[in-house]
């Protein structure tokens, strides 16, 4: 019963965030353009050699998702803080975990859409050959995105309300995401390299463990973050 109500609250928050995003489009367009710009700059750094660029593609695509995601996470709370709305949200009755769940949901949709654009751009620019096991690739993207969004949304709840928020979020987030990035990059690399299914499986399992551990931990810890 109460869980149902919390779920409705979470959905309402996610819907509100996504509607605001859909109507203004400014945030999504800016973040997406930035991600593609980073992709192009990596292309310059890695040189015009097709094979070198193709080999680096999985890492580059995930790093783009990370850099652009950081902007999305801070934005998601910034819009609340500008109108003084976060305090209102916290004062509403019901579990505050619903706020986190709603933000998580909205950020997941935001980052997933952005990642879809980045991946298509990356496949074209870096001349990636799509493997036959592309459904497994979708699983990697799904679990990788969940890991990225979970910690990103959680730490942004702190960093967006502190001084130097532009620095604090990456400083907290990037070292914590080392397992997600390694697993996502290596699994993608293994799949694109073909016939290394065993490796990709290990990494996907690591991603799932990471997602479960940190989803549980952040849900438990969110009240301590939002109440002060």
């Amino acid at each position: 019963m109460s869980l149902q109500r919390d779920w409705r609250r979470a959905r309402a928050i996610a819907w509100k965030d996504l509607t605001a995003e859909r109507r203004s489009k400014a945030g999504f367009n800016a973040v997406r353009s930035l991600a593609i710009t980073i992709l192009v700059l990596f292309g310059f750094a890695l040189g015009p050699d097709t094979n070198a660029v193709r080999a680096a593609a999985p890492g580059v695509i995930w790093l783009c998702a990370l850099f652009a995601g950081v902007l999305a996470f801070n934005r998601s709370y910034q819009s609340e803080l500008d109108g003084g709305a976060l305090e209102q949200l916290v004062l509403y009755p019901g579990s505050r975990k619903a706020i986190y769940a709603g933000k998580l949901l909205a950020n997941f949709v935001f980052v997933a859409l952005m990642l879809a654009v980045v991946i298509v751009a990356g496949i074209i620019l870096f001349q990636v050959v799509i493997p036959g096991e592309w459904p497994s690739l979708l699983a990697i993207i799904l679990f990788g995105t969940i890991g990225l969004v979970t910690l990103g949304t959680f730490y942004a709840a702190m960093s967006s309300r502190s001084r130097a928020r532009e620095v604090l979020l990456p400083l907290l987030l990037f070292p914590m995401l080392v397992p997600v990035l390694l697993a996502a990059m290596e699994a993608t690399k293994a799949l694109l390299g073909g016939n290394m299914m065993g490796d990709a499986g290990v990494w996907v399992r690591l991603l799932i463990v990471f997602d479960i551990v940190f989803l549980a931990a952040t849900f438990l810890a969110f009240e301590a973050v939002i109440e002060v």
């Binding site: 916290v90 604090l168 907290l172 390694l182 551990v213 109440e227």
Partner: protein
């Protein structure tokens, strides 16, 4: 905003003169004695010669770096449970000391790696995870430095410390798999008994030094907080 924490004023008392300086002297003398013992009793290594002696500072420092995040985790959890400011200050002291030891481990490791492996750095699993741990601790200290409100600082840094500590084994596993998939790293797993005594002695010496460091840093933090409380009370016109 609502909070369940009790008012902080009055709970902090500056520590009085204690026996801890004596413990500090003991810790440092024990460290010096352990170093001398270890260096004297161990024969030169077959391959590395006297270079091996750096093990007696490098390895204990690495062990302590593993121990200190556990302290951050325990006192972070205890703070969230009991909301005593002392636990927060202890966790912060442990994190600062852990950062120092992690930096020391990395620096000593590089000094050792250069003549033995021929490089300052290699992307070995243990090196890389130590570096990531160092960065996670740097994030923890940044949170503490950037947030002024004591209660918010305590709650947030407790959460950051707990999540960071949970992540340490996951980071280690992921980096290890990343390495083993690319190339098998040879690991010096067997240590001759002649070196074990020196290593154990120094592990205890480092443990004592670390406890002393954490304690002193904690006392300093207590005094800072006591001074803040006193100045606030004075500003409010309450006198003492």
């Amino acid at each position: 905003m609502t909070t369940s924490a009790p008012p902080l004023a009055g709970t902090i008392v500056a520590p009085r003169a204690s026996r801890w300086p004596i413990f500090g002297w003991f810790a440092f003398l024990f460290l010096i004695a352990s170093q001398i013992t270890a260096i004297v009793i161990s024969p030169p290594d077959r391959d590395m010669g006297d270079l091996q002696k750096i093990m007696y500072v490098h390895v204990p420092a690495a062990w302590m770096t593993m121990l200190a995040p556990l302290t951050v985790l325990v006192f972070g959890l205890r703070y969230l449970w009991k909301r005593r400011e002392q636990d927060d200050l202890l966790a912060a002291a442990a994190a600062e000391v852990a950062t120092t030891f992690a930096g020391l481990t990395l620096a000593l490791g590089m000094i050792w790696a250069r003549p033995t492996w021929g490089v300052w750095w290699t992307w070995d699993a243990r090196l890389t995870s130590m570096l990531v741990l160092f960065l996670i601790l740097a994030g923890y200290l940044a949170v503490r430095a950037l947030i002024d409100d004591p209660e918010r600082r305590a709650q947030w840094s407790a959460v950051v410390g707990i999540l960071g500590a949970i992540n340490v084994p996951i980071v280690y596993m992921s980096v290890r798999w990343w390495r083993t998939i690319h190339q098998i790293q040879s690991s010096p797993s067997t240590v001759d008994p002649a070196y074990v005594i020196g290593l154990r002695l120094n592990a205890f010496a480092f443990l004592f030094v670390m406890i002393y460091f954490i304690r002193r840093r904690y006392e300093a933090a207590l005094m800072e907080r006591a001074a803040e409380h006193a100045s606030r009370a004075a500003a409010l016109g309450g006198g003492r």
